[in-house]
Symmetry: D2
Subunit: 332 residues, 4 copies
């Protein structure tokens, strides 16, 4: 299923070098003011080509609303948003085809889909599919108007000084990974449930849906495993549930506790490194060295914050609707 | 929803000090040989009271089959398994009630459920609910007969020498956390999908459903964020997809690649530390110091491996059925 | 999936002659007063053996709460209710086994489940499974306190005079079918959606889940197909949406319109007729005549009204929660 | 949710007079040959303007594939198909707006969505949304290549002679309803489950998602309620499960029994009758007489057979995939 969410449900479609990519948002309340303008600044943040270390591929990324908006407001019916693919250079990929790129899904896709996959630019696996997520996330953010979601890069290539981390990659002619931290303020107490619908489960599910994510931790996360209980426990201070520390990252028993929600995700280095690599050529059945062509990010983590924010907003909007904390009709 | 899975679907119910805890498994293929015997060794591993550092609470934990098994085989209909709660000491909790225990769900449960929650022993939040998961996991393991799942503790209280980590806790009269590593061998290529149904998403979703889990990472995980791409990429060696290294932990593009599946989870220290703590008394609205009564694990990570194995088996059985790699009728 | 509902979700389990039958209700709001007493009168209505034409099998049908209720109120966690099977006479079925009973699921179950099905008394197919539905329905009715659901038999064996229809069956030593009509008053405007979540879709889905149902129609139903549009259209009279006629049965565009919800279901005659029948003996592979043993209803429609009410209540409670018309915490 | 299906899942979007209507099909196996050509003949059958009694509105109804097809085959990823709306005359509807049309969803949509609904041409409620269903149905039919689905009109305006029924409507300057019968041959034994996933439940759920459907019956349906058991029971004749009669319509215990699947649906008369009608004007709050403008079918049943076939194919393809009777990769 290429869908996520119980009430506010998103479904993605499209391929990197196909006709288009897009998303359908089902279950958005009626009456929310919405226009393409509302999505542009987040879509701009996601785009490459602006920063050192991001891909020179430039798509207009204009969101075409195909349904669900009428007279400038959501109707309560599915909102389909389409992005056209104009700026594709597929020939880069056709040459590469017989050598599955290490770190990429080329080989598994070929095995799983029997050779029917659209291999151009990673096809459906491409991070271009996150364009739709960012658009839907911008809508979710509008619904969550009292709640503030901020994701930022805290580390690139092992360096807290991000510029330094990038320079390391440029110098090494290699790609690097990074860490994103996301902080949510203004969240009410009570979102999530113990076990399968824990807020951690939903958020982690969504975060691992973002290409290149290999780790997720909440609050103190892996560091908690080294702590004593007396040290890790967050003492409750007042009747609003404010805690003195926030080792839990704002979630206990799977449920938001009214403190800041804090989590971090690990992004692996871009698989398409400019460095020469070795892999199997499935035609010759021999190992072969080659260099990846195509336009790629040196560090995908640079473009990830807005995607992480969108993914977070989608999870929270769904939980808020489920908990009846956002009405089915917005009056604004 | 207290349920997980699309085809092989488990639903848990029960409270720590209520009548019983249990699980229903829907979608299990017909024809699988099954008796209580098949579940006992895993249930035994989950039990406390056997090892240094685990709770002295002892339940018989005998799995009563209430449906779905006939003439020693599964029928294809829902299997409900009940565990009776016999050995409860609820009075420990009633005294504690006005002071929500730090690190526990007491306060959020009270806020979310309007005071209707069964607070005794953590109620539905209790790790006792994992008894059902372990039982269902043992059934899933039987279905996955060619696949081997092994979880083990790799670190307690920051120490690789587990005994030493535990002794640290005992000496400090405090609780400690730990790290569990899970390795799956024999997995076919092709389980999972990119995006929302990535194998990482499903596994992380399930892992964060286990109480006390605060971090999940696959392969190199958080360390990947510090690596170069040329270093992290796993080169494909042969036509079976075997890679020279396994930084990806056996998953690329959300899909199993035929190498060992490897992931680690961070378990926070047991919230019920024997140390004196401070929290808010919601009757007096004052901070108060107190010590936790009741029987508790010094380190819940000790009992976690079998739970992690069960959780993993549930995710994999579901994916294998979805991918038509396990038939709807077992002939054995 | 043996489950139904998006928010208020029921899962049934059990076999007619197995250990037990039961149901789990997930997603019930917290704070609803609930005891076994609340369920007994509906369970009593479902029971056979009281009326002319119903099976002499008598089960205590006492609902044992296994979870989800604490201090006389629902906790917001899954409610599991168990009914013990005490009064079973399985030997009746073992003799019959090689001749699949016409009208029953014997043959398809055998084919589909590879011979692993519990064939005693119809196993999981048995109408005994509706015991759980009736219990859950009684809980749903409590949630729908302003809404009144009444199902009644309007026809037996083709006769509006029910006694006469039954007597016809007794005289013919045969079983008969019947028609149930269900009327719901007090329903708000706005439940349901066009297309797949139309109120008609949800109700019909649930009604066809009841064994022996072979037809469902709303409002004028099949008679509407013979009408002119000007005749069938219900003119709106006032600002509350009251219509002069109710040919639509209270649903337009898949959505409740505030008028009485009216639908009818067709129940086929009990398959276990006392009359001699012919079927294939799968051992001899010959046609054979035989008479059905066991205790059966002459007309299952007689016991159906309370099941239809329960099924209706389950659909409506789910829709009301989804539409935020029932809160997540009940204060009573 | 504007979605249906567990494995082969369709999601519809769009409005009658908006930008477009469309559908996304998720879970279609990879490797199925597919082009727009494959959909055209069914789309043509759905179109109005060709037959006496259908709307003169003419849309090109050309299916634009936006994703999921590559090199003439399905990729295994979501297939999004878009239909442009070109031939709309929205002004007809704006005039009408203050008087909700009897039989239509105007009033309930307004109440439910707070006035945010796209009211032009019925918006999302319009039968134009079935264009996507027909396209998806044509794909499902390709998957079900051994199975034949045929729906046909058996009655219009109460007349078995369809021409006569239509003439009756034309003479009366009124609209009429009709009956559709659907017969499926070549279905294997074993699709469906007892209770909530009964084949009857799934089919009825889907049929009531089609606008204007007010009744569904399987096999003898409502007539079964008037029969004796000995008369209704279908005796099994041979080891393939062939029955002498087919009163069950090919389904027992919710499961296909290998005989022809037969069901009938009742279609109400087109709500937009040319006859003068009375309804409430919500501005003046007075009853008012008016005539419906716009282009409409005298009898929507005429265009329904291809929609019923599509709906049936969608349900069966989903069940076949769930039962592992269609592989995940098609080799043709």
């Amino acid at each position: 299923m290429n869908s996520f969410g119980r009430i506010f449900r998103v479904s993605i479609f499209g391929e990197s070098h196909g006709e288009s990519v897009g998303i359908t948002i089902d279950g958005c309340p009626a009456g929310l003011s919405l226009s393409a303008e509302d999505l542009l600044s987040d879509l701009e943040r996601r785009k490459g080509g602006k920063q050192k270390g991001t891909t020179p591929r430039q798509e207009a990324d204009y969101p075409f609303f195909k349904s669900g908006v009428f007279n400038g407001k959501t109707t309560g019916f599915p909102i389909t948003i389409l992005f056209e693919n104009n700026n594709t250079r597929s020939e880069d990929y056709q040459k590469q085809r017989s050598i599955p790129r290490p770190g990429h899904a080329d080989w598994v896709a070929h095995e799983k889909f029997g050779g029917n996959e659209d291999y151009r630019g990673g096809g459906h696996f491409s991070a271009r599919l996150t364009t739709g997520l960012v658009a839907a996330g911008a809508i979710a953010k509008k619904l969550l108007n009292q709640i503030n979601i901020t994701a930022s890069i805290t580390e690139v290539g092992g360096e807290k000084d991000i510029e330094k981390g990038l320079q390391k990659a440029i110098d090494a002619k290699d790609s690097v990974g990074g860490i994103i931290e996301c902080v949510v303020t203004g969240l009410p107490v009570g979102l999530g449930e113990p076990y399968f619908d824990s807020l951690e489960s939903s958020l982690a599910h969504m975060m691992f849906a973002i290409p290149a994510v290999k780790g997720v931790e909440f609050g103190s996360g892996f560091a908690a495993a080294k702590m004593f209980g007396s040290e890790h426990n967050d003492a409750i201070e007042n009747m609003q549930g404010k805690t003195t520390t926030n080792h839990a990252g704002g979630i206990v028993g799977g449920i938001s506790n009214g403190n800041d929600l804090v989590f971090r995700i690990a992004i692996k280095p871009t698989s398409s490194t400019p460095k020469e690599q070795t892999s199997l050529n499935w035609e010759t059945q021999q190992q072969e060295t080659f260099s990846i062509k195509g336009r790629h990010d040196l560090c995908v983590a640079l473009r990830a914050p807005v995607i992480v924010e969108a993914a977070t907003a989608l999870v929270l909007a769904d939980a808020m609707l489920l908990e009846q904390r956002i009405p089915r009709i917005i009056k604004d």
